[in-house]
Amino acid sequence: MQPPPLPDPILSLRHISKSFGGVKALQDVSIELRPGETTALVGDNGAGKSTLVKVMSGVLRPDEGQYLFEGREVPVNGPRDVARLGVQTVYQDLALCNNLDAVQNLFLGRERTGPWWTGFRVRRAECERRARDVLRRMRLDSIALDRPVGAMSGGQRQNIAIARSILWEPKVVLLDEPTAALSHSAAEQVGALINGLASHGLAVLVISHDIHNFVLENSDRIEVLRLGKNAAHFRSGEVTGEQVVNAMVGGKEGVNSAA
């Protein structure tokens, strides 16, 4: 049987190396993200996952390597360049302001304002409408728009951080450990949300430590980093949790070959 043809990668990083002083956080790492696919990035603590995401989001500049978007090498000099390409990032600590409400957080730093004679007044109604649109698309109608996010549950806060990233209709979304602080049911919701993004044609990269419950359930591919290097690459449907974990910790390559 012929497998369906793969879409071309929208974002690919090739031969990326990045050192912090003497620490080689990334060595010759390559990764590809395809539209409509969720790629899980896994690895032990310190494997270089967050560093790779920060290179992808433009926060860090690699020492070596290429940054390709839609097949072309693009110059990346900072997070703004990457955002302009349509790549949005949800950082591990969410970076939400607890004292601001959902709408203020969604538009923080990118507020829509009226002309000068209104005193550059924020177009609150317009922002609320867009916020509600996005949340409805994410099936999150029940989030109150006008309450400080500090009063919300961890899952709701996580969802708002994700909503902020997709508010600008990105083509690629990068999520650094979106489920780490969540209960099982809240993590399932985030998983459903990510699946929704991929089914709308976005390329999604998600970091998670929860191989069995989250990664295998919610991703199409799995990219394993170990000690700053590409260690293995799997299709989620063709692998067991043990194989992934083995690749992460550097056990025997693949349980199959050991048989």
Binding site: C97, N98, Q104, A151
Partner: protein
């Protein structure tokens, strides 16, 4: 997803949760209280009202600056020294160096805002708490003001500004009065009392609305709009609430904070310009303790000392409450030491309720 916590709050509940609610109730209460005990002593006659509204307006002017700065997550304890300094700059420039009053006023604004920026810059660069940096500045600036005044003029109090201010075009915007014709007319109609003797004979006891009051109202409206309606207002809240998250969202946190230090200095300078042009004299020791009075108004107005939460309207109401109580005790002939007891008690109650309300509104999360 049904979650108890996402329920919309009722209208009444929302109203009660507003930061300025406590100060609003407080103003009503003290007004009723003094209507009952001090109305006979003239506190609510036209001149009595003018008396406490001017005092309240003075508090409000410095409270507005302190309020935005506190919401942005910083303090300025050098406000009082800034008042003394900018007043002396104006007085020395016009009385000692003979510069036009408007030049002195502009010079005072430029210098005090530059010092405010320097203050903010120091806090940002050192990463030290603004409490300690501006406390140092409180002493440095006060000392420099006295030094400057003694070395140039040999005095620490300069008077004689009044005639100069009256001829100037800019000074009346600080020390003048509006609607004088209207008040004279009301006096002539017998609606407000007029003086019956002396050089003011025939003139109404309240001759107009002092410029100070316009500044207070104008600054409150401006700052409230800035804070609640513009992107910059969001940035102020974000900088004070979570500077790290704000920076990730691309907010220029440092610039926001330095600008707020400058705005606080601007407000202190407005206070000083009104004082010097209206009363005609400047003193190197003016403005003592004003920084604390400003902070008290802001806290009574519902702001949190930790930043990220507060209201300009609340600070304005706090200033009114402050002014009414201070002058009310004076009118009712109460022992003035009681005022401090009252103030301290009020401050405690305000801080406790604010913290409690904030927990309910923002959550005890962090």
């Amino acid at each position: 997803m049904t979650d108890e916590r996402v329920k919309e709050l009722g209208f009444a509940q929302k109203l009660l949760m507003r930061p300025e609610m406590g100060a609003f109730c407080g103003v009503i209460l003290v007004l009723i209280f003094f209507l009952l005990i001090a109305a006979d002593n003239g506190m609510f006659n036209p001149d009595g009202i003018q008396n406490w509204s001017v005092v309240s307006a003075q508090f409000a002017i410095i409270a507005v600056g302190a309020c935005l700065l506190m919401i942005a997550g910083e303090f300025d304890l050098s406000v009082g020294s800034m008042i003394g300094f900018s007043g002396m700059v104006l007085a020395i420039a016009s009385l000692h160096f003979g510069l036009p009053v408007w030049v002195g006023i502009l010079l005072a604004f430029v210098l005090s805002m530059a010092l405010g920026a320097f203050n903010g810059f120091l806090v940002i660069k050192t990463g030290l708490p603004s409490f300690i940096v501006t406390l140092a500045f409180l002493y440095i600036l006060r000392g420099l003001t006295i030094f400057m005044s003694v070395t140039t003029t040999n005095k620490t109090i300069l008077s004689g500004m009044k005639p100069l201010a009256e001829e100037d075009w800019l000074a009346p915007f600080f020390g003048g009065e509006a609607f004088q014709g209207f008040f004279q007319w009301m006096g002539n109609m017998g609606w407000i009392e007029t003086y019956t003797r002396g050089i003011f004979e025939g003139q109404p006891v309240v001759s107009g609305v002092p410029a100070l009051i316009f500044w207070a109202v104008g600054l409150v409206i401006f700052a409230q709009f800035l804070l609640t309606r513009t992107p910059f207002g969001n940035w102020i809240f974000a900088a004070g609430g979570d500077a790290h998250a704000a920076a990730y969202a691309g907010i220029p946190v440092k610039r926001v904070k330095i600008l707020m230090f400058m705005f606080t200095a601007f407000c202190a300078c407005v206070f000083a310009m009104c004082q010097v042009t209206e009363f005609g004299s400047a003193g190197a020791d003016r403005g003592l303790l004003k920084e604390f009075e400003a902070i008290i108004c802001v806290v009574i107005g519902g702001a949190l000392l930790t930043g990220g939460y507060g209201s300009v309207i609340g600070a304005g109401l706090g200033a009114i409450m402050f002014g009414v109580v201070q002058q009310g005790l004076f009118f009712s002939g109460a022992e003035s030491s009681l005022f401090r007891v009252f103030l301290g008690g009020l401050l405690l109650i305000a801080v406790i309720t604010n913290t409690y309300i904030r927990r309910r509104v923002i959550g005890a999360g962090d």
